[in-house]
């Protein structure tokens, strides 16, 4: 067994690491977060120019042909910098949905743009009532002679506020939580009838809720087979989960480094607070949680691009469950170890703490994935 990255993978990770270190200081991150885009358009461009937004795409698209491991390398470093760019939403999730479900002309129209960073995609799969269950879809798409007419509402679309292309799930048949009957549509964001309510997120990103009010699209907007998108969505959300786990590991690594530094520097009662056993033990627990999370992120990356199976489902839910729990532990115990300073906007730790909690609210929290895991338990 060998858990080391190969030379190419290591180079990839180093490239992203250098870029993040050079361009993404904490102070700049706060500034990027305040802009209309909510991220650094310049940094996003650089990721494109260096071919980093093409990592998961095949070589004929100028891509890297990267698998879960390459994606992991990129996402971990973006996590370390608490980067705000739509890599997860556009490249991994949006790009993945089009790659898997799109026909040749759709892939030709959009994938090159996504792979170069020139076209930004967002995914709008959840709804106000859906509570992480992506099969819980009330938005309806009715077939008509011009194509499809969409009506409904999509919730918490991260990056949707400035995306060019929005991938929307809508029901063409079936009841609210049937797996069958869900279709996937690629909507140009400026299509008439799409209303975006834009807001910042508590961890510094931007997103929106979408209201679809008689949105007429032509048949070319349908991605894949009508009524049959559930499997595609599940598969690609699995890739996104693996990527999110990798990001979380990067966030946790930095969070732990900041906390450890603080324990060594901060003095109380005449000694560095790291001399107190209770804080030592807590720091050890935080490191152990990180190692557990790292192991699961590696495992998740290893199945991200594998064929769909119950085993893949189990691994991804296990990983997301661990990431949710370890992330919350490191976030909360890190704040506690820092004392008051860990509660402040000015100090970077607080923002790592917030990101870790919010990662748990993306693509299913630890409870959601525990239940999913339990439902897939094998008798032996």
């Amino acid at each position: 067994m060998d858990f080391r990255l190969n030379e190419e993978q290591q180079m990839l990770q180093d490239t992203v690491a250098r870029l993040v270190r050079g361009e993404y200081s904490f102070e700049k991150r706060l500034e990027f977060s305040e802009t209309d885009a909510g991220f650094s358009v310049d940094f996003w461009k650089q990721l494109g120019e260096l071919g980093l937004t093409a990592v998961p795409f095949p070589e004929e698209l100028g891509g890297f042909g990267g698998t879960g491991v390459e994606v992991q390398s990129v996402m971990t470093e973006l996590g370390r910098g608490l980067c705000l760019e739509p890599y997860l939403q556009s490249v991994i999730f949006g790009g993945g949905l089009i790659s898997q479900a799109g026909d040749d002309s759709q892939k030709e129209a959009w994938l090159e743009g996504i792979a170069s960073g020139g076209l930004q995609a967002a995914v709008a799969l959840q709804e106000p009532q859906s509570f992480y269950n992506l099969n819980d879809v009330e938005t309806r798409a009715e077939k008509n002679d011009k194509g499809y007419l969409l009506n409904g509402r999509k919730a918490v679309v991260i990056g949707g506020h400035c995306a060019d292309l929005i991938l929307v799930s809508a029901r063409t048949s079936g009841d609210t939580s049937d797996a069958n009957g869900i279709s996937l549509f690629a909507l140009k964001a400026d299509t008439a009838g799409i209303e975006r309510r834009v807001y910042p997120t508590i961890d510094g990103f931007k997103g929106c809720d979408l209201t679809l009010n008689n949105v007429q699209v032509d048949a070319g907007a349908l991605l894949g087979e009508e009524g049959n998108a559930s499997g595609v969505i599940e598969y690609q959300s699995g890739r996104a989960i693996a990527a999110l786990c990798a990001e979380a590991v990067g966030v946790m690594e930095t969070a732990n480094e900041l906390t450890l530094d603080y324990l060594k520097q901060r003095k109380q009662f005449g000694v560095p607070i790291g001399k107190f056993q209770v804080l030592q033990h807590r720091m050890v627990d935080m490191m152990s949680e990180l190692e557990q999370a790292r192991s699961m992120a590696i495992l998740a990356a290893s199945v991200a691009n594998e064929e769909q199976s119950d085993e893949r489902r189990r691994v991804l839910s296990a990983a997301k469950n661990i990431i949710g729990r370890s992330g919350q532990f490191i976030s909360e115990q890190g704040v506690q170890s820092h004392g008051g300073i860990g509660m402040t906007w000015e100090y970077n730790f607080a923002h790592y703490a917030k990101r870790l909690i919010m990662i748990n609210h993306q693509l299913g929290d630890d409870d959601f994935h525990l239940e999913r895991y339990a439902s897939l338990l094998q008798a032996s």
Partner: protein
């Protein structure tokens, strides 16, 4: 053993309820119940109502305008006022500096400050913590040097809660550097409008402005503002801390937050069913409710033990740890109950004046911010680690 309220206590509870029914402004209660920020005016309006009733200074002796409540009566007030959504009194004046002035201050200080606390003319804040002196309070560095009939104060205080509203601050200052750390500290009352004082906001991770830094540069403080004796401030500070630490367990607040959570979980859906019917979520709620029941009884046991006078000992430290952990887990569940809507941060929805449509529902907006903000519960008022140190020293003899 009798765990029930006496008939007098029940009558008192009815009286409290009738008062809250009649006098608590509905708009303020709605803000409190929805975890929204209160304005200075909200606090002042409620204080006036309490004062008029004669119930504001529940820790004071009657001769100074206090109300003679037994510990059980105080507990009943705490429970009921939380349940109704009454604002917590800002404690720095009425519950912190006032008992110190009453116990250690001179007659003139009592005559000057106590009425102004009751009337709301003075808004006090606390000048204890410093950048280098949080849990290790005795290492504070702010200096006060006597020059004639004044002290000249230089230094910095931090985590000054609601200092932006205050016109008075009570401070621990170092008046003697020759003796051991605890021995050279004095307790000073300082007018915030004195030249040389600067207040700078600290923005917390939820974007809120609740705490401040306060800088002192050659601030002239009249010697008559010294409480008690010079260099004896540590004794007064410790006395004050016993007042601060009672009530930090927040049992009443937890009960109110728990019923808010249950209501929330009854309205939110998961797989088309109310979240409160979901097995794993309802078990999480159940576990917290059980923990809270135990903490509430522990709280009552402490209250009963001081019924005859005195202040609670190290038991209240254990209760602070448990109580704050419980409150934090309720906040955690409330955030979980709104699923992905925990992510958006729509600042205008934090105020009740918001007129547009709510993104999710009107209860969702403040929940994540509240969760993050209440991470402070295990840090302030003597961090939970410090409380455990107290217990291991005082009770276990370790």
């Amino acid at each position: 053993m009798n765990m029930n309220y006496t008939s007098e206590e029940l009558a008192f509870r009815d009286e409290v309820r009738a008062f809250l029914d009649e006098k608590l402004p509905a708009d303020i209660a709605e803000k409190v119940k929805g975890f929204r920020h209160l304005t200075k005016e909200d606090h002042q309006r409620w204080q006036q109502i309490l004062c008029k009733q004669g119930w504001y200074a529940s820790h004071w002796p009657e001769e100074y305008g206090g109300v003679k409540w037994t510990p059980v009566q105080k507990h009943i007030w705490d429970e009921e006022s939380c349940r109704y959504g009454a604002p917590r009194s800002i404690p720095f004046g009425v519950n912190m500096v006032a008992p110190v002035i009453i116990r250690f201050g001179n007659e003139e200080q009592k005559q000057t400050y106590l009425p102004r606390i009751l009337s709301g003319e003075d808004w006090w804040c606390q000048g204890y913590s410093e950048p280098g002196a949080g849990s290790d309070l005795a290492s504070l560095k702010t200096r006060a040097v006597r020059q004639g009939d004044h002290y000249i104060v230089n230094g910095q205080k931090t985590w000054t809660t609601l200092g932006q509203y205050a016109n008075m601050i009570f401070c621990l200052v170092r008046t003697n550097t020759e003796v051991k750390a605890q021995a050279g500290i004095s307790f000073l009352l300082i007018d915030m409008n004195t030249p040389g004082i600067t207040v700078r906001p600290i923005i917390t991770l939820d974007g809120a402005h609740e705490v401040n830094e306060v800088f002192f540069e050659d601030v002239k403080v009249p010697v008559e503002n010294l409480v008690g004796e010079e260099d004896k401030g540590w004794t007064y500070a410790k006395f004050l801390l016993t007042y601060e630490r009672t009530g930090l367990a927040g049992i009443g607040l937890s009960k109110a937050a728990l019923s808010h959570l249950k209501e929330l979980a009854s309205r939110r859906l998961k797989n088309g069913r109310p979240l409160i019917e979901d097995t794993s979520f309802s078990q999480r709620i159940a576990k917290i409710e059980i923990d809270l029941t135990a903490a509430a009884i522990s709280n009552l046991r402490i209250i009963a033990s001081v019924e005859g006078g005195g202040v609670p000992g190290a038991e209240s430290s254990m209760l602070k740890v448990k109580g704050t952990e419980i409150r934090q887990s309720i906040n955690d569940l409330a955030r979980r109950a709104i699923g992905p809507y925990a992510i958006p941060f729509v600042a205008e929805e934090l105020s009740l004046e918001h007129e547009g449509e709510f993104l999710s529902d009107e209860n969702a907006a403040p929940l994540s911010a509240y969760y993050f903000n209440n991470r402070k519960l295990s840090i302030f008022g003597g961090s939970n680690e410090i409380q455990k140190n107290i217990v291991s020293k005082m009770i276990l003899g370790l």
